[in-house]
């Protein structure tokens, strides 16, 4: 079986087999993260454009690290310093970066569908690093990898997502991935952020919206927290105190979930708002594993869209242990 990923724009159109393949391909890259020398020569001579039209620290550094550990070079565009401030259109910026001949275009943008739009006009692979409130595919993959590591499976789990789900690309990518493996979803948060329409965004996937934390956590295997975007607290005007009262994940509430339930958070965490420090730092929390796994998943993504791979082929991380010579890319 050969899987071709021209772009990675969303998880929604991918099949369970394709998603499993992506996760499996990430596995050997996870091992690389533990190695004292982490750099491979797999993509030596290749260039990855990191075009972040919306501010991001974690995801940009994670993709940059992934590119570098594969031996590729990265070129960086940051919204603050770029000509989009001077009125250049998204497409013109993309064409200009493309003219410097990168092999892949990783982009984040505040408009939903922006990666899809750019991909229609570029002849190189486009990887969506988050588009508006639509999808964040690499986050969905790293979450699934983290869950699989901790619980041994991503099949038939009860997944509870808490927070501003309407505006969350992370929630959508998780639903579209885990939903293909028989997971059931309970979405919970203030009603304005958890509209009933969410129950129908992935046909065939059981999704229910509830508004009481106790009900949401019952029997949960996975609790996926979302960052409460403080700017969102103004639209609608909602008091942070009220949010804490109703939806903050604390130790007592967590006891209402499955005993072995794990807690994920895409970061950055607002300690004391959506989650208490003892839970964020507790044994059930996977927050830092998520970050580590993020690099592995992004290595797999870059490797697959740039070099391509077959299921029977040798994985680059197994083929050659990193060694001194492969480390010298310059």
């Amino acid at each position: 079986m050969t899987y071709r990923f021209r772009d990675l724009l969303a998880l929604e159109p991918l099949t369970a087999d394709e998603l499993r393949f992506l996760l499996d391909q990430s596995k050997p890259f996870q091992e690389i993260q533990k190695h004292p020398l982490k750099k491979l020569a797999t993509l030596r001579g290749k260039t990855v454009a990191l075009a972040f039209f919306e501010n991001s620290t974690r995801t940009r550094i994670s993709f940059g690290t992934a590119a570098s550990r594969l031996g590729a070079d990265a070129m960086n565009l940051q919204a603050e310093a770029s000509s989009i401030k001077k009125g250049e259109t998204l497409l013109d910026t993309a064409f200009n970066l493309n003219a410097m001949k990168p092999d892949c275009f990783v982009m984040r943008h505040s408009a939903s569908g922006a990666a899809d739009y750019v991909a229609r006009h570029l002849d190189i692979p486009v990887v969506n690093a988050g588009d508006g409130t639509h999808e964040h595919p690499s986050q969905g993959l790293l979450d699934a990898l983290t869950i699989r590591d901790r619980l041994g499976t991503i099949e038939n789990l009860n997944v509870t997502i808490l927070g501003d789900i309407l505006h969350s690309r992370v929630a959508r990518s998780n639903i579209h991935l885990l939903g293909k493996f028989g997971c059931k979803f309970t979405l919970c948060g203030p009603a304005m952020w958890v509209p009933r329409e969410l129950e129908k965004i992935a046909p065939g996937v059981p999704i229910r919206c509830v508004y009481k934390m106790k009900e949401a956590l019952e029997d949960a295997h996975v609790i996926l927290m979302l960052r409460v975007q403080t700017e969102r607290l103004n639209d609608p005007p909602l008091s942070a105190n009220d949010y804490v009262l109703l939806y903050q994940l604390n130790a007592e509430r967590l006891r209402g979930a499955n005993r072995d339930a794990i807690v994920l958070h895409p970061g950055p965490i607002n300690r004391g708002i959506e989650i208490t420090p003892d839970v964020a730092d507790g044994p059930q929390s996977c927050v830092l594993e998520q970050v580590t796994n993020g690099v592995a998943v992004r290595m797999a993504i870059l490797y697959l869209v740039i070099a391509g791979a077959t299921e029977s082929g040798t994985h680059p991380a197994l083929e050659a242990k990193p060694k001194e010579s492969a480390n010298a890319t310059d």
Partner: protein, 424 residues
């Protein structure tokens, strides 16, 4: 002299559906008679309409011609050329030009440009408020004298209920219809499509159907209070239609129009392609069914295009950043045939009414085929197979979601004041 022979005349005003010939003498229809009864006089041009329908000239109540001020998207010349190709003989142009058509000088400029460069009749709509800002009433009487046929702050509703009431009152005394773009702007703020499962899935901000219906409710109440003529533009929601229906049954002078895109497409058709972005946005499956029923049962008075050209540099951007609106002239009739007539939803007669007598009544004028009437005619086919290619459009813009769509039937010839302005 122009003799149109062998056609099938369809005239809702006189309920005529018969094989008839027409003789046009300059700007007027001179004679209408059974097929073969009019002899072609010496020097008369003959237009053979064999196999074609001959209807009164189509009127579009709602279009944006962009001149003055946005000539890179459309001009009077290119817009009316596209209108002629679409079978329209008269086009009402909205006042949101640059400058806004809120005084007689701008109205006269538009009419002068239309006379100098236009292919079809242009009937300007004046702004209801100065600069369409919703603060002070514009010089409506002056604009009426210059030639406007209605007022509207299109692009948005008249800002406050108080001003809307005053405009309605004033326009009742001037006998002008007030055309409302019904939208509660606070409910619609930031939205780029209709709120629903599709907007939720795509992560695009949605406006609920209530954004329109809330404003329709306000305006219907004010129409009742004032007794004025209220026309709801590009109505898209079932809830709005029910209010228009109720207003009509109470005897209020409330009318409405529906666009071809709203009776053809729904929110589920929306992709990140900005050619699917318009305001009001594509509505729900249920709304479309209700619109089709309203078009058939008479609740809807007119089909209007909301032709809204935007040059590629403006429209071909991220969905969130793209302006609202699509081209409409050249696909309106073909979509109506496809969605209303060929599908069996309405008769051909009713469809013609929605393009002719219906909009004429909204404007308070007549539109029929009879001796002495203006020689404005729309001749069309109901069976010719063709494919719409936006590249061939005379419009300066390319923003149509219907590019490449296959049709059965469409405009064949457009006659304005006895002159053939389009022949396809």
């Amino acid at each position: 002299m122009l003799l149109i022979k062998n056609g099938r005349v369809i005239d809702p005003a006189s309920k005529t559906d018969a094989a008839m010939d027409l003789l046009l003498d300059g700007e007027k229809i001179q004679e209408v008679a059974a097929a073969g009864k009019i002899g072609a006089g010496a020097g008369a041009e003959i237009l053979d309409a064999k196999g074609l329908m001959v209807a009164p000239g189509f009127i579009d109540l709602h279009a944006h011609l962009r001149e003055p001020g946005q000539e890179s998207s459309e001009t009077m010349e290119t817009g009316t050329h596209a209108a002629a190709r679409g079978g329209f003989t008269a086009v009402c142009c909205m006042p949101n030009t640059k400058p806004i058509n809120d005084n007689a000088s701008v109205t006269r400029f538009i009419l002068d440009r239309a006379r100098a460069t236009g292919s079809v009749r242009v009937w300007p709509i004046g702004a209801a408020s100065v600069g369409s800002k919703g603060e002070a009433i514009s010089e409506i009487a002056g604009m009426k004298e210059a030639g406007i046929v209605a007022v509207s702050d299109d692009g948005k509703p008249i800002a406050t209920a108080k001003l809307a009431r005053q405009v309605l009152d004033y326009c009742r005394s001037l006998d002008l219809p007030v055309i409302e773009h019904a939208e509660d702007v606070s409910l619609a703020a930031g939205a780029v499509m209709r709120e629903g499962v599709t907007s939720t899935k795509l992560g695009l901000r949605g406006m609920p159907a209530a954004a329109e219906a809330v404003c329709v409710a306000r305006d219907v109440q004010l129409a009742e209070l004032t007794g004025a003529r209220l026309h709801i533009a590009h109505l898209s929601a079932k809830a709005s239609l029910e209010q228009v229906h109720s207003a009509k049954s109470r005897g209020l002078r409330v009318t409405c129009e529906v666009t071809p895109h709203h009776f053809t497409l729904i929110d589920e058709d929306v992709t990140y392609d900005s050619r699917f972005k318009m305001n009001p946005p594509l509505a729900s499956r249920e709304d479309r069914i209700a619109l089709l029923e309203g078009l058939a049962d008479g609740t809807v008075d007119a089909i209007a295009t909301d032709h809204a050209p935007h040059e590629p540099a403006l429209k071909e951007v991220e969905f969130d950043r793209a302006p609202f609106g699509i081209l409409g002239f050249e696909t309106a009739l073909a979509l109506a045939l496809q969605q209303l007539v060929h599908s069996g939803k309405t008769s051909l007669m009713r469809m013609v009414e929605l393009f002719t007598m219906g909009p004429a009544r909204v404007l308070g004028i007549e539109r029929k085929i009879a001796a002495g009437q203006p020689a404005d005619l729309t001749i069309f086919s109901t069976d010719r197979a063709w494919t719409y290619s936006v590249e061939e459009s005379p419009s300066k813009s390319r923003n149509s979601p219907f590019d490449g769509r296959k049709f059965k039937g469409g405009p064949a010839a457009t006659i304005v004041a006895g002159r053939i302005v389009h022949k396809g």
